[in-house]
């Protein structure tokens, strides 16, 4: 979203313009949904529910938005927190138990390579979620939220260099985590 457009949009939202809110949804919900799909490991239903919940919270906190960061960054932060809350509530993300998994027939038996790739992606996702908080948000916002380093720095109220250091450290940790899992 262009900064000029975003400023106009925020002014319209502040005046209570409903159409401005609908425009905001149209321009951002795909990105929010995509980040949540990555965070949830490809669970589109959960991601859709979390996207809906993210916007509920956004409407509620809109009057307190201080414009320290872009709207998309702010929305990603809400989505990220919503996801973390959801994984603390096991009701929303119920793992498929073993019997259920066996009962589901694989539609394409030749896609072993794809399964292995998904397995690696899942391990990577778990490793990201297992990182300590500053690293976890930074790397998820950079790669899953597709936010710029400077934008994350503004959101975190640190310098861009600090965010780069965090990214380097987080990548190193993830590498170690994937290597241990491989052993």
């Amino acid at each position: 979203m262009e900064p000029t457009n975003e400023r106009h949009l925020l002014e319209a939202l502040a005046s209570g313009d409903r159409r401005a809110a609908e425009r905001l949804v149209d321009e951002t919900y795909r990105q929010v949904f995509a980040s949540l799909v990555r965070l949830t490991g490809g669970d589109t239903e959960a991601a859709a529910d979390l996207t809906q919940e993210t916007y509920r919270k956004a409407w509620k906190s809109l009057p307190s938005f201080r414009r320290r960061s872009q709207l998309t960054t702010w929305l990603y932060r809400i989505a990220y927190n919503t996801f973390l809350n959801s994984i603390r509530r096991p009701v929303l993300l119920q793992p498929i138990d073993e019997q259920q998994a066996v009962a589901i027939e694989d539609p394409d038996p030749d896609q072993a390579a794809k399964l292995q790739q998904r397995d690696v992606a899942e391990r990577l996702r778990r490793a990201v979620i297992g990182l300590p908080e500053p690293l976890r948000f930074t790397i998820s916002a950079r790669f899953w939220g597709e936010l710029a380093v400077e934008e994350i720095a503004r959101q975190e109220q640190v310098t861009g260099a600090a965010i780069r250091k965090r990214l380097k450290l987080a990548t190193s940790r993830l590498r170690e985590a994937l290597g241990e899992d491989a052993i």
């Binding site: 502040a14 919900y29 859709a48 409407w59």
Partner: protein
């Protein structure tokens, strides 16, 4: 699989295939846009599912009220426990209850001064109260006149205005006035006897007599402190100084300590109700007051105990206090009479002070610092100090003796001061004999 490189990790992070969002997702989100965006309030009910349960304001008030009730209940329970643990508190509450009840029925019965020493106290409290009592001790005439005054502050404090208070007060005043007249006779007789005894003492103590001589002198009836074999009224006995005086002083002390009942019980049966016939104003109300307290204690603990064990223990404590009070005094007195130092454990200042039963005048105003009562207390303090260390210099004893004699002369041979003088002389003899050895 070896460890992936940083580039591989980053590519893995970005290589996630993103499916298309559900078609109705945008519509669902838009349907939940609140009507008033600035306030952030939502329409619909779906949000309630995700809202954390909020604490209602009334719940906070309930918690606060519960805390207040719990703390208050605890304090009340502690207070009740304190009252049950100390019979003094129980007795006091019982007296309050009895006074409330008695004021409705017979107002004069509540018009009694009840000394706090009547209650059982621990040693420290007892000593404090006794010293205050001694210092506040008025002559019998003064006390009687105070009790006779209907506008006395103590009378006002203790009496609860009832429907017949005026007439009832009048009855009390009449009774006390009648007693006062007879009391004056007793006092006049006592004054005469005191003067006679002072003369005898002065002659006897011109040159320090030997302990044996003093022993004989002590065996004379006048300053005798032991149990009186017989009590007679002043009218029956032409020279009533010893028994009458002792009775009067005993009455006076019993008014504040409750020890009188104990002594009466210890007396032989052939000396019975002559005390009643003396019509001394102060004693009769004392017994009435004790009866009231007894009944009040019974009523107070009626629900808390099966029998009257607690009230009995409270009264037993009072009686015990009376006997203990006389104990130290008697032990020290008998030891000195026998020409030996009293045992250290027998020396208890408060009991000795009370045992003397000083009835001298108080200071007329608060500015007057050295009233006879104060001076007597100081003298007893110094005496007790000497008794405790079992040692005294000659000059110290002479100084103490001179001041005691001066006080005795000033008070026309007040018996307690006379007794003090004798004790000092006996201690002087003890010190002399020790030096000779």
């Amino acid at each position: 699989m070896t460890q992936p490189t940083d580039r591989e990790v980053k590519s893995l992070l970005t290589e996630v295939e993103i499916p298309e969002p559900p078609a109705d997702l945008a519509a669902r989100i838009k349907s939940e846009i609140p009507a008033d965006l600035s306030s952030g309030r939502f329409e619909g009910t779906d949000l309630e599912v995700f809202d954390a349960p909020r604490r209602s304001p009334s719940r906070g008030w309930l918690i606060a009220a519960s805390l207040v009730v719990a703390v208050g209940g605890g304090l009340i329970a502690l207070r009740q426990m304190d009252q049950f643990q100390t019979p003094a508190g129980a007795l006091e509450s019982g007296v309050v209850a009895s006074e409330a009840a008695a004021s409705d029925a017979v107002a004069p019965e509540s018009v009694q001064y009840r000394s706090p020493v009547d209650q059982s106290l621990d040693d420290a409290e007892l000593e404090t109260v006794l010293v205050e009592e001694i210092q506040l001790n008025e002559p019998l005439e003064t006390r009687s006149s105070m009790e006779a005054k209907p506008d006395d502050s103590r009378l006002q404090e203790k009496s609860t205005p009832g429907p017949d208070v005026t007439s009832a007060d009048k009855v009390v005043v009449d009774e006390v006035t009648a007693g006062q007249a007879e009391l004056d006779e007793v006092s006049a007789d006592r004054d005469r006897s005191d003067r006679t005894r002072v003369d005898q003492k002065t002659v006897a103590s011109q040159d320090l007599p030997s302990p044996a001589t003093r022993k004989v002198e002590r065996s004379e009836p006048a300053p005798s402190r032991g149990p009186q074999p017989k009590l007679e009224t002043p009218s029956e006995q032409p020279q009533p100084e010893a028994p009458g005086e002792q009775q009067t002083r005993a009455r006076q002390r019993a008014d504040s300590t409750g020890a009188f009942e104990k002594r009466q019980a210890a007396q032989p049966p052939q000396a019975p109700a002559t005390v009643e016939s003396t019509a001394v104003a102060a004693p009769a109300p004392v017994r009435e007051s004790a009866r009231l307290e007894d009944g009040a204690a019974d009523r107070s603990f009626a629900g808390a105990r099966a029998g009257s064990a607690l009230a009995g223990s409270a009264l037993a404590d009072s009686a015990l206090a009376g006997s203990v009070l006389a104990g130290s005094y008697q032990q020290v007195r008998s030891a000195l009479s026998e020409g030996r130092w009293p045992a250290p454990e027998a020396i208890r200042r408060a009991e000795i002070v009370l045992g003397f039963g000083f009835g001298g005048p108080e200071a007329e105003s608060k500015q007057e610092s050295a009233s006879p009562a104060d001076r007597f207390t100081i003298l007893v303090d110094e005496l007790v100090e000497i008794l405790e260390r079992r040692q005294a210099t000659e000059s110290e004893l002479e100084h103490l003796l001179r001041r005691s004699r001066a006080l005795a002369t000033e008070l026309d041979g007040q018996p307690a001061v006379e007794e003090l003088v004798v004790w000092i002389e006996q201690i002087g003899a003890l010190v002399e004999s020790a030096e000779e050895r």
